[in-house]
Symmetry: C2
Subunit: 228 residues, 2 copies
Amino acid sequence: MTSHSDPITSTIRTRLRRKPDRGRFDRASVERILDEGFVCHVGTVDSGGPRVIPTCYGRVADVLYLHGSTGSTLLRALAAGTPLCVTVTLVDGLVLGRTQRTHSVNYRSAVIYGQARLVSEPGEKARGLAAIVERVVPGRTADVRPPNRRELAETHVVAIGIEEASAKVRSGPPLDGPDDLEIPVWAGEVPLRTVAGEPVPDPATPAAHRVRPPDPPGYVRDYRRLGE
Amino acid sequence: MTSHSDPITSTIRTRLRRKPDRGRFDRASVERILDEGFVCHVGTVDSGGPRVIPTCYGRVADVLYLHGSTGSTLLRALAAGTPLCVTVTLVDGLVLGRTQRTHSVNYRSAVIYGQARLVSEPGEKARGLAAIVERVVPGRTADVRPPNRRELAETHVVAIGIEEASAKVRSGPPLDGPDDLEIPVWAGEVPLRTVAGEPVPDPATPAAHRVRPPDPPGYVRDYRRLGE
């Protein structure tokens, strides 16, 4: 078992060569970022060149799950154990300095290196898929039909150990030098957050249900994301 | 000169092998996505393995600019012409089907493949850097000090032609099959958007300026992002 205070493996890849003060190398820092986002960018090497694809993910303990069609080039490559890099980035705000140079973005990012393992055991496959839906809409899987045999057969789920990983965080105000502080322009931070708008019911909802449209459940009505 | 209706080069990498109906291959579709986001994920190959790093970007016509310290491993690799993949992803909303399988995310993403060119001509370097600040906070560069000679010497700017590129878009409701439509659970879309919170003035603002704190300029007060 791994504990939240365990260090994550530090390697030449996860050690920060620039601005090492922004680095976080404990499991809890990485997991907090993974548990706030729901879209990652997966990097692979395809015919010698890099490829970066956005996709959803789920986390169960120290394992990250990705999924996709068995026909997907990405999922086939991941299932075959190609080296990968998964990055999750949360943008917290804009940093406006008094010079172009001191503009920045406040963010938290987690990077995981490794290789995936194709999940074939049915129980783990179901848990991995449910974790992905739950990461996007916590509470949702209890209300919907789980995947059937055909859907499971058409879907690849891969597992990535959260082992060689690190987090990077920038927060706080701009860092203008003493002379630049005298430039008489507003400077500071503009916090950003993601909010949910009014839910839009599926127009394909059958007429019988439409007469008394079921209210959106609490996890939809009160959906909140970053920074709220 | 390139025009907005020009097709962008379609290659084996940008052609979508899965769900080709989601693909967009015209310059305008790619540029619209680039002009709404401000964070990209840059993929490179480092010691044979993939690496995915978030960073800001700017666009001037059919060129994308990235920047970073001359000491940055990423910028050095980009400056040396390593193959790259730049991905910009905008998340528009959540798609809640009546089954786990029909859950999805509405999004728009742009992917650019290529190699960067180190920008050495001072005019283009300045324009590239300004474009990055303007992408994050439109209107800001007019108010702040441009980079000085030392800052320019410490910064690498690289240019990437927006040539081998494509966009991918998912929008609309969940796509449940006829049988699943009868499952009596709320289904539909939850739009997401990024909003700015109350600007936080830099606590380092000198006392003389603090007595009458300069109001945040309009581009800060009314900062709006995706979907607004």
